[in-house]
């Protein structure tokens, strides 16, 4: 792709999200835009209905006093109403901001005030209670709209209304002000703020990253980097829409591709929902890919002897094909034929069991992943590509090219953008994807974007062909007491490849040696204990059993053998509590937060070093 000039970021000739949305709603009319499961039946929403409801949300908000550039916050799990509100708000020239449903009332208060939110959308009673608890401290808040009013029939409050009622207000406003909506669509300019995305600060409070229409359209324009999607292709939406990656994949990209977005019923039903939907493109964070792999690995251990043999035979053939692909060679005809047989007999069933048999493309990002895991998916015949980026560059900065794969790297710069490594080793990005800055925070903005270069905070390397390798987060690099620099995430990724380890945090800054805290995978470790008749009652007692300690010790030794001597982990402890997304130790994408973990488990950590 040629280097684009600043003014040429358009999709279907449209230069803002409202115009693009209007365009595709007209074009696609009665074709299916999304599906939601209602009482066990998938119900379709057409693009026309999508457009109508978004319009009525937008006009309803205007009728209630929404002004251009006002901020609207949405606190709900993925659902059609989220999208109506998102596009409806954008269409009338205002700004949307997502809030994680796992956030506490206190966090909600901070974000609502920092963003100056005037309209707040709450999924249900539970989220409503959070905003009600803190609204006294949010003077600029005008209205709270509830998507699902179940259980609230007896509840009357001046400031609270149902989503249905808001649509009614919008319909009335449209009747009284014909043509108003058309004019509002024209309000936004390409470089205007479109959405706010709050990034969970591991240090300090969250910051609102400002993304413009141009940022987003620029990324939409690259939506086919993994697989070219067509109308009628299915996607499954289940990662939080507050995250830029899911927002791009499930809300923005379909504006261009026309793929149908299916909403998972809940996070617990994702495995079943994937099988039902059989998505054409599947984007997930490493944790999800790890879980799929663990499930298959465990099932194979329980399989019959011949079943296991067949699996290993087929996987070995797949792995040879993958090696060829990675090397950029075309496999010999014999091997290709053999793979077809292996796929037909075995691999296709494995893919079916995960619901990925129709996936033409798969992508992983938002966190580091073990290269072996990518290789495993490639051996199954799934075109799995690693991507890298952050909120501040609207999601995607680099991606693995289809025809040239270097495992362990995150691919090359997205076309139309530049990547550079600073003298300090930091990865810098430049291009139309670089954000407008942090909301009301010029100081942080100036620290982050210098001369048009976005400072990612990631340390990495770039080879002569432009492949970027991420070493770690700049602030995560461990300098041991011996002065040795260690990049914890590389070790942690190796550890997480074990089906028994859900996540791990390596510790050792200013310490004599490295240690780590391990969060075990409850399901697989419980099964391990049960198979070996290791008695345990609850999670903590499971962690404390000698056998589990030995199991994890063995997994750590396995990783240690691949590391340099100074980098080996000498001690470890298990986190004896089941952590959920509500816990501050975890990010909403279920990654352990290093800073919090270091603080919260200080006693445990100190004890490890004290006894040495």
């Amino acid at each position: 792709m040629a280097v684009m000039t600043e003014t040429s970021t358009t999709v279907f000739g449209q230069d803002t999200l409202p115009k693009l949305f209007r365009h595709v709603v007209r074009e696609r009319a009665n074709r299916v835009a999304m599906r939601e499961k209602d009482l066990g039946v998938w119900r379709a929403v057409s693009w026309r209905e999508y457009g109508e409801r978004a319009k009525h949300v937008g006009l309803g908000l205007v009728a209630l006093g929404l002004r251009p550039r006002d901020v609207v916050s949405i606190m709900a799990d993925n659902c059609p109403e989220w999208l109506y509100t998102d596009l409806g708000t954008l269409s009338v020239g205002a700004v949307t901001n997502g809030i994680y449903t796992t956030d506490s009332a206190k966090q909600v208060e901070y974000i609502v005030n920092d963003s100056g939110t005037r309209f707040f959308f709450a999924a249900d009673e539970e989220q409503l209670d959070k905003i009600l608890a803190v609204r006294a401290g949010c003077p600029q808040l005008v209205k709270i709209v509830v998507f699902d009013p179940e259980g609230l029939h007896a509840f009357k409050d001046e400031q609270v209304m149902s989503f249905e009622d808001l649509l009614e207000v919008g319909i009335r406003y449209e009747a009284e002000h014909p043509g108003a909506f058309e004019r509002m669509i024209e309000l936004a300019r390409p470089d205007d703020l479109a959405i706010l995305v709050y990034t969970s600060g591991t240090t300090g409070p969250p910051k609102g990253a400002m993304l413009s229409h141009r940022n987003i359209l620029f990324q939409i324009d690259y939506s086919d980097y993994v697989a070219e999607l067509r109308e009628g292709d299915q996607q499954l939406s289940f990662l939080p829409l507050c995250h830029i990656a899911e927002r791009t994949v499930s809300v923005f990209n379909p504006l261009r591709t026309g793929a149908t977005v299916n909403f998972a019923e809940s996070i617990d039903t994702v495995p079943e929902n994937i099988r039902e939907v059989a998505p054409a493109l599947f984007f997930a964070v490493p944790r999800i890919w790890e879980k799929f792999y663990s499930a298959v690995a465990l099932r194979m251990r329980d399989a019959t002897g011949p079943g296991r043999l067949a699996y290993h035979w087929a996987l070995a053939i797949g792995a040879r094909i993958a090696e060829h692909r990675i090397a950029g060679r075309r496999p010999a005809l014999g091997l290709r034929l053999l793979f077809r047989i292996a796929d037909f007999l075995v691999l296709d069933n494995v893919k079916r069991s995960m619901g990925l048999h129709r996936a033409r493309g798969a992508a992983t990002g938002a966190a580091p992943i073990a290269p072996d895991l990518i290789k495993w998916y490639m051996a199954l015949g799934i075109d799995m590509r690693e991507v890298y980026g952050q909120t501040e560059n609207c999601g995607l900065a680099t991606a693995m090219p289809a025809d040239h794969i270097k495992l362990g790297s995150v691919g090359v710069a997205r076309p139309g953008t530049e990547v550079r490594i600073s003298p300090e080793g930091e990865i810098l990005l430049k291009g139309p994807h670089v954000f407008l800055g942090y909301y009301n925070n010029p100081v942080k903005t100036a620290e982050t974007v210098v001369d048009g270069w976005l400072h990612t905070g990631d340390v990495g390397l770039m080879d002569s062909e432009g492949f970027v390798r991420i070493t770690d987060r700049m602030k995560d690099i461990i300098i041991t007491a011996g002065g040795k620099n260690v990049t914890p995430s590389e070790i942690e990724n190796q550890l997480k490849f074990s089906p028994y380890i859900s996540d791990a945090v390596v510790i050792g800054d200013k310490r004599k040696f490295l240690s780590c805290l391990v969060m075990i995978d409850h399901e697989t470790v419980a099964q391990f204990a049960q198979e070996r008749n290791v008695p345990f009652t609850n999670f903590a007692s499971l962690c404390r059993t000698e056998e589990v300690q030995r199991l994890i010790g063995g997994e750590i030794d396995r990783v240690n053998r691949q590391l340099a001597r100074v980098e080996t982990i000498k001690k470890f402890r298990l986190i004896e509590q089941i952590l959920t997304a509500e816990d501050e130790e975890l990010t909403p994408t279920m990654k352990l937060k290093r800073a919090f973990v270091n603080r919260k488990y200080k006693d445990v950590i100190d004890a490890m070093y004290a006894e040495a």
């Binding site: 249900d124 209670d129 509840f155 204990a529 009652t537 609850n538 509500e582």
Partner: protein, 257 residues
């Protein structure tokens, strides 16, 4: 704590293809009252049935007084000293109360001891004496529960397995039954494993408790401490903060800590 009388380890029990108990381990110390709490279908009754030999486990061991008893026939288990009071009483409706009680002593040959114990259960439940010749089927629910417990006592057990003794009883009767259970434990030194949905009652009379959810133990602690846990309060005792609106329908996520 006292010696472990019953030790259950890695128990797995199936109903056909359905795994009802998914790897459960727990201990019951001698002379203790231990309770297992859980919702419908959590697998509480299945545990008791597996211990008493009514069901055979697929896996795992049940050790009673140092002897492995899993898979043993129920009558043998009874002879070893475990009496099971099943859910729903299960008295013999067409036999008299006295005959029912004598059925409980079927394992015994010491006529003198049996007569002594008959007096004993009549002293615990005087109403049974006055109804001794009546058919058991004509008793009220509460009286049937008393009969079922008494019948189990007639085997002079070391340990009693009680499956929801409060089921379908009035609050006053529930209180009475639980008082007797406490007395049986204290006065006779009988170890009790109690399965209950009435968590409030169970936690107040038991020493130690396990919480079972879909076939797995998610929490265990002394009952005094369990009563203080947020999850126990909200999900088992029906106590919750009413929230900003004064009413709250949604449930917190259980964390079991």
């Amino acid at each position: 704590m006292a010696e472990t009388l019953l030790a259950v380890s890695n128990l797995e029990t199936y109903y056909g293809p359905i795994m009802a108990i998914r790897g459960v381990s727990f201990d019951v110390p001698e002379r203790a009252v231990v309770t297992i709490l859980g919702a419908n279908g959590a697998g509480k009754s299945t545990i008791l049935k597996t211990v008493s030999g009514v069901m055979d486990p697929q896996k795992g061991t049940v050790t009673f007084a140092g002897r492995e008893i899993q898979g043993m026939d129920p009558d043998k288990v009874t002879r070893l000293g475990i009496s099971h009071v099943p859910e729903g009483r299960e008295v013999f409706p067409f036999l008299s109360v006295r005959e029912n009680l004598m059925m409980g002593a079927f394992t015994r040959t010491d006529a003198g001891g049996v007569a002594e114990d008959l007096e004993l259960v009549y002293s615990y439940f005087p109403i049974l004496r006055s109804r001794a010749e009546q058919r058991a089927g004509s008793l009220s629910g509460g009286e049937q529960q008393m009969l079922a417990i008494s019948r189990a006592l007639m085997a002079r057990p070391r340990m009693m397995l009680l499956d929801e003794p409060s089921l379908g009883l009035s609050p006053r009767l529930v209180k009475e039954i639980f008082e007797i259970i406490t007395r049986i434990n204290r006065e006779r030194g009988i170890t009790v494993l109690l399965v209950e949905q009435n968590a409030n009652m169970a936690l107040h009379i038991a020493d130690y408790g396990y919480v079972l959810e879909v076939g797995r133990i998610v929490m265990d602690d002394t009952c005094a401490r369990l009563l203080e846990k947020e999850d126990i309060k909200e999900f088992y005792l029906g106590m919750k903060e009413s929230g900003v609106r004064g009413t709250r329908r949604w449930k917190r996520k259980k964390t079991w800590r």
